[in-house]
């Protein structure tokens, strides 16, 4: 699954640690999500969407068109 987390984070000039603190997860989690090595569960995906004030599908794409 692809995502725009890194771009959205960069737009706000946040470090991975900043984003991790805002989402109440570890920095390793943020890194794994950004690099596409781990897909967040639904509650975390909703938290990310709320934090960036965007719908989930605007942040995460399943790569099937």
């Amino acid at each position: 699954m692809k995502n725009r987390l890194k771009v959205l984070r960069a737009e706000r000039d946040w470090s991975q640690a900043d984003l991790a603190a805002r989402l109440d997860v570890s920095r390793q989690s943020v890194n794994a999500i950004e690099t596409g090595k781990y897909d967040p569960n639904l509650p975390l995906a909703f938290r990310i969407a709320r934090l960036f004030d965007q719908p989930i599908e605007a942040i995460f794409q399943d790569g099937r068109g």
Binding site: A17, A20, A21, V25, S26, Q28, Y38, N41, P43, L44
Partner: protein, 149 residues
Amino acid sequence: MVDRRTARVWEYTMAAIVGGAIIMLAPVAFLGRPATRSLIHPDRIVIMTIASALAMGWALVFATLSWRRFDEFAKEGSKFAWYWGGSIGLAATAPAYVFIGLGGLHWLWPSMPVGLPLLRAFVIGYCLPLFSQMIGFAVALALWRAARR
């Protein structure tokens, strides 16, 4: 830099290990050496068994606290590691079990004692954690499914 959540998990882990070890070993310091040369000391057996149970209870409390501090990513990693690492590790012991059970150590080092009582002790020692783990797995899975019906 370690974030607060990860730091707390490490604190709980250390508390589980250090606290558990202290509880488990404290009776040894108080009891000292056995008064007689007999191998079986009922009071020692009871006290040390209770201390072991308390130590595991202590460790379990901190393991629970630690698990609650895990985020989803860490939980997934832990589940993967316990399932695959634990299963493969367990499977890897099977050849060692057969080799030792058939007297392989005595064959390599003839000075090593061999005999039926030793074989029984070895089989019990091997099977106790193996069956406990399998039963624990089955119970945890049953509880997990029951909670999601």
